[in-house]
Structure formats: C-alpha cells, structure tokens
C-alpha cells in the first residue's frame, strides 16, 4: 500500500507522472475551447487539492479550514495588485508569504488540539477569516469580489488572460506541485509524515518530534493551497469571499477522497471527476447536486480508497 524503498519504484512512479504531464501538454492542441478552459481551471484547483492532500492524505490530519489558506493566496495576490498597483511578480511573492504566515500561525494554534477538535478549530479559524474578509469590504468588496483587469495580468511578458498562456501557466504550476509532492513523499521527512499518519504514538517513541513534523506539514499544505489561490486570482482575474467560505474548505476534502487520499495523482483525478460530474449532470437536470451526491456515496461505498487509490492497489503498487 505504501511505496517501498528502492530507486526503481520511485523512478517508475516519476516516469508515470512525467508521462501524464506530457499528455496534458499535448491535450491543449486537441481539446475544444470549452474543455480547454475547464482543464486549466481544474489544474489550478487540483493544486489546491494537492496541498490539502499533504496534510490529510499523507499526514492524517483532517482540516476543515483550508479555504482560509486558499483565500490568503488569492487576496495576497489580488489586494496589492488592485490597491497598490503591484505587478504580478511581487504580488505572487506576497501571496506566498501570506500563505506561509497564515498557515504557520493557524497551525501553531490549531495543533494544540487533535482529532475532532482539530477539525472544529480549523473550521472556526476559517470562518473567522471569511468574516474578516467581509468586514473589510471596503477593500475586499466582500461577496461581490473584485476583478483584476486584463491589462494587469501580464507576467514575464505573457498575457495570462489569453487561453493558451493561461493553460500553460496552469500546467507549469500543476507540474511543480505534483513533482514537489512526489519528492516530498519519497524524502525522509515525507516518510515520517506517513509514519505519523499510520501510528503517531509509535513515531514519537521512535525518536521523532511529531509536533514539529505536523506543523511543517500544515505550513507546506497551507502554502501550496495559497499558491493555488494566487494562481486562480491571476489566471481568472477575480477574487471574492466565496472562495473563503466553508464550501471551499469542503471541496478539497471531497476531491481528495474521491481521487484517493495519500496518492500523488488522486487530487487531480478527484477534481477532474467532480468538475465534470457536476458539469454533465447540470446540463440535463436542475437536480444536479442530487446526482453528484449519489455518485459520491456510491464511490465512497465501493471505492473507499478513491479512484487512484484503488487503481494503485489493484494494478500499480509502485505508484506514489
């Protein structure tokens, strides 16, 4: 179930994921415009899910407040661009800094609890973050949100509002997050994260500072989520409080569960699956959430390890 030691498995897994990245690159020349746009959005949201997966899938900590990290990146990007006239490059740095600071602070406090209390505390912090965004409506424009103008969304000479540039920027970000995840999981630090998920008490009594590892996992997870939030603001030109709401804390949990918690590719597959499930079912019924819900229940019952998790279990045990 877990990757074994040895270069060959790690290498096979790496080639598999590099192959996928290659396939996504080629797809942009084939896909019709509508799906081309969707896939760019899905890749960015998958980065959010991959960040969530670091904490939930690999470290075993269930957060219900990741929307605040996503929003930290989104507003860390959007606010200085709109109010201070920053270009995307420094705004990206401020977005990442916002992600690090918010996740380090929240992580420090929330990790004083565990289990159900951790879920509740992260949920409450996220709710406080959401209300803070509404409170400062003068700058954030609250629920209504604000648009980042097309002319400002130019990074390193590329107009990121153009579909081709947007798709490839999303693909670059997606590749970075995916390869970072694989690198992390095969590192010594990643092995300890997995050990904490599997048996926290034993890990502590083998000589590991469990609390420190969990804190770092929150920071890595939160920062990756913030990076996704920043990219979303930049690529799609909009920031709004909806992205900080409870709904957006639940989404990455669902995506990761569907795709396979603790698999590198699960977050992407889960995001893709759910996006199109809603997209397709809403095209022929207004009760599309009913269909989506039913599909979720069936998948959870019959594929408890998620799509990629079951695929790994049955077909390719070497997958990261």
């Amino acid at each position: 179930m877990i990757e074994k030691a040895g270069m060959t498995d790690a290498r096979k897994s790496l080639y598999f994921h590099l192959g996928l990245i290659g396939a996504l690159f080629i797809l942009q020349f084939i896909l019709p415009a509508y799906h081309h746009g969707n896939l760019a959005r899905i890749m960015v949201l998958a980065c959010y899910a991959m960040g969530y997966n670091i904490l939930f899938g690999y470290t075993g900590l269930l957060s219900l407040g990741h929307a605040m990290f996503f929003a930290a990146g989104m507003y860390g990007m959007g606010l200085p661009m709109v109010h201070l006239g920053w270009t995307p490059e420094p705004a990206l740095i401020s977005a990442i800094a916002a992600g690090v600071v918010v996740s380090a602070g929240i992580g420090f406090l929330a990790l004083r609890t565990s289990g159900v209390s951790f879920m509740i505390v992260t949920l409450m912090f996220a709710q406080a973050g959401f209300l803070t965004i509404l409170y400062f409506g003068e700058w954030t424009r609250g629920d209504e949100g604000f648009v980042i103008k097309q002319a400002e969304r130019v990074m390193a000479g590329f107009d990121l509002s153009q579909p081709v540039n947007r798709y490839n920027a999303a693909l670059i970000l997606f590749s970075i997050c995916l390869l970072l995840t694989i690198r992390l999981v095969h590192s010594r630090f990643g092995r300890v994260m997995i050990a904490i998920r599997e048996n926290e008490e034993r890990t502590h009594m083998l000589g590991y500072d469990v609390h420190f590892h969990k804190w770092m996992a929150v920071i890595m997870s939160g920062t990756m989520a913030a990076l996704a939030g920043a990219a979303y603001a930049l690529l799609f030109g909009y920031a709004g409080a909806t992205f900080a709401s409870v709904q957006y804390s639940i989404f990455p949990l669902l995506w990761v569960l569907l795709g396979g918690a603790g698999t590198a590719l699960g977050p992407f597959v889960g995001t893709l699956f759910m996006f199109y499930l809603i997209d397709l079912s809403s095209s022929f019924t207004t009760a599309y959430m009913l269909i989506a819900g039913l599909a979720l229940v069936l998948l959870t019952l019959f594929l408890p390890q998620g799509l990629v998790g079951e695929f790994r279990r049955k077909v390719v045990p070497w997958l990261s």
């Binding site: 877990i2 050990a195 599997e198 048996n199 502590h204 009594m205 000589g207 500072d209 469990v210």
Partner: protein, 244 residues
C-alpha cells in the same frame, strides 16, 4: 559492587498521580550500566506507568530522572530516545501497513544520516536477530501476533540503544519463541542496560541480574532472583496473606 559508580538510569522519588489515584508513589530506583533488571509486580502495581516516566511517555508528577549522568526529567520523549533509550509498548505498536524493513527503517534511519548502506545493514542485522530477516518485504500487519512483537523488539534493537525498555515482551509468544527471546536478551545484556517488565517468571529468572518488585506504586523489594524468590513480603503480595 555497582553502587560505587554512577547509575546508568536512576529515579529519585518519582511519583505519578492520575487525578486522585496515585499510580506510582515516590519511587527511588537505580540501575548500573549493562545490567538486566526485571520489574515485576501484580497487575496495577504501576509498572507500565513507572517505565513510561523513565522513557518520557508519561510526565512525572514529582521527582527527578537521571540518565547517563544527565537530568532528563524535563526532556520530551523523542529527545530521550535520541539520547539512547529505546522503548517497546505493552500493546504491540507497529506500522501495520508498512513492510517489515520500512518499520525498522523508521526506527533506525535518523542515526545514520545519509548512509544508506549502514541503514540497510542495520535493518538486516536487526531482523536477523529476531529471526524475521526472510520476511523483510512482507507487510507488518500480515504477521502473526508473536511475530509482530518480535518485529517491535527488532525496531528497538536497531536503534542500538544504551537502555532498552521492554514492556511485557513475551506476552503472546509461543514457547519456542520465548526460548529464542531469552537467548537474545542474554546476548544483548553485555552491550546495553535492559529494563524488562515481565509476567513470565521463567523468563525473569533466566535473564535478570536483579529484580525490582513493585506493589501499589511502591518498591516492595529489590534483589537477585534468589533473594526475591525467598522474600516473604513478595510472596504475600503475589499470593495474598492467607496463602502464604
């Protein structure tokens, strides 16, 4: 006599209260380097709580713990482990969904930095010692209960500790496995100090240099196996006044 040198591990009046319950009550305890010390006592005597305090899993309510000449009372468990204490749980605690070698790897890899060869050698050598080397790639969760206990002991050994604390290691082992375990402990005894909580009196008598008897959270007696066997108070604690 060992009393002339600094003890390897010692406790100075340590206590542990759980609410109003006093599990361990002002225990003084000292073991010299290289000794095999068995800790015995009736159920509820406070044995596991006592060794839990020594390794840092359970904080002390009062008292002081010295290990290798240093005060470790305030040190969190993971730091004590890195100073050379290894601990095995009373209820088997392994990574069921990891292979045997990955279990041992987690136990030992922090000792070796990036020396992958040394890690691999230690894994093989430790599993060899408990007779599980041929199952290295199996999932630990698929092992029998007795084998899981042996795996946990291998994890302890792989840390090359100065002090090895074993909480009821032979519980659930078959007779043949117990014989192997006794042999292993005797071999290890010269290299490291061993604290052994044990219910099986044959194992205690065959391995221990000294025995400490706990009863109701206090030390009832300390002595050689022969002393303890002859001790009337110990007989009463185990068998009850009327039978003694």
């Amino acid at each position: 006599m060992a009393v002339m040198t600094t003890p390897h591990i010692s406790a100075d009046g340590i206590s542990r209260h759980f609410g109003g319950l006093i599990a361990v009550d002002q225990v003084d305890f000292a073991v010299p380097r290289g000794e095999i010390r068995a800790i015995i006592g009736p159920n509820g005597a406070g044995k596991s709580t006592f060794v839990g305090m020594l390794c840092g899993r359970i904080p002390v309510s009062a008292g002081r713990i010295m290990f290798d000449g240093k005060d470790v009372t305030a040190l969190p468990a993971h730091k004590r482990i890195r100073q050379g204490i290894a601990y095995t749980f009373q209820i088997t605690s392994i990574y069921g969904r990891l292979s045997l070698q990955d279990n041992v790897r987690l136990a030992t890899s922090w000792r070796w930095g990036n020396d992958e060869r040394a890690i691999q050698n230690t894994i093989e050598e430790s599993l060899e010692k408990v007779g599980l080397a041929d199952r290295m790639d199996q999932m630990a969760g698929d092992l029998s209960y007795g084998h899981q206990r042996l795996l946990e002991i291998a994890m302890g050994i792989s840390q090359h500790p100065q002090l090895l604390i074993l909480d009821e290691p032979t519980q659930g082992l078959a007779d043949s496995e117990i014989a192997g375990f006794v042999k292993l402990i005797r071999e290890l005894g010269g290299d490291m100090t061993i604290l052994l909580i044990e219910h099986n009196m044959n194992v205690v008598m065959d391995t221990a240099d000294q025995i400490t008897v706990l009863n109701l959270g206090k030390v009832l007696a300390t002595g050689t196996p022969a002393d303890i066997r002859a001790n009337r108070e110990v007989q009463i604690a185990y068998l009850g006044e009327t039978h003694a």
